[in-house]
Symmetry: C3
Subunit: 134 residues, 3 copies
């Protein structure tokens, strides 16, 4: 965690490009938050015709409907604003570099989740007692 | 933002109907919260056989498994209860009108997200300093 | 509610197995939280090649990329830690038993949502006034 869910237009990215997006997201956490590289949990969903609506110009952006994506990030609720600034800046830059879209094409939402709410497997809440490690 | 993620049965809605759902969701925000019409960010996901389970009668509803949908809304955490009432009422009514399903068929969850957590593009948290505008 | 969103590798589970996952999730709530069996709201999404990245060993797990899944649970924000422990333990055990994956293969995130934010249909927030019933 953070856990990413990326929503992209169907057919836009080949598997190699999806891997590049995943690599970019993973590296953005390492660089911006010092998170271990093995903390890599990423989902990508394609949306077909009329299933992905990201307004082309709202908030002064110039989004390309062929490229625009939305990235939902389940992020530790303990993160201060400076961490959030660092994450979205890193995510945007690295995804843009990875698959050659415009910085305007990458919409990001950080959904806060208390870290005690994450179970990495075995039905255990791994950070329920320890508090944030990263 | 709010950002919508709509989960529908696969093959139930044609692209024109998906556009009608998106239009309805967009208009519901304009009408209920006074949000600009350009603030339009909507994702639709289809779920195939055995992938969408919405109980037919729980909480006194009469849901049609062929039509029932779940709409997850990432909504500003600052919204008071009266705004939430207004949003779910408007969303339900307009989606029902748009694609001719029953009011019982539209399940809505409002997931709160602090507005400082939204990046509309360029790796910037556009409302980190300004506070809510809408 | 809780509402489940399960992310699985595409083609790994047949419809009967997806139903078994849904049954397991439903029963896990009944057993761990005393929730009515009719409170059954579950979505499953398949992810194709290069669309699901769940690290094979992070946090000491031994995940099988062919089997590993991520379960996002929209859970009442009022739940104390003991309820969270009970839910993730029950979800893990019952999914593992249902489809014969390893306990290490089931990643769970509990995303908190105030119960006043749920509309089961008709544009009404059913628990806005009553408070938690379960």
């Amino acid at each position: 965690m953070p856990v990413f869910h990326v929503h992209v237009p169907a057919g836009r990215f080949f598997p190699a490009q999806k891997r590049a997006i995943a690599d970019a997201l993973n590296q953005s956490l390492v660089d911006s938050l010092g998170i271990p590289a093995e903390d890599r949990f990423i989902m990508i969903t394609e949306h077909g015709e009329a299933e992905l609506h990201l307004h082309p110009t709202f908030m002064g952006m110039n989004r390309d409907p062929e490229n625009a994506m939305l990235i939902d990030v389940l992020v530790g609720a303990h993160r201060p604003l400076e961490d959030k600034h660092a994450v979205v800046a890193a995510v945007n830059k690295m995804v843009v570099d990875a698959v050659d879209v415009s910085p305007d094409d990458v919409f990001i939402v950080l959904t806060p989740v208390p870290i005690e709410n994450f179970s990495f497997g075995r039905g255990v809440l791994h950070m329920a007692e320890s508090g944030p490690r990263w």
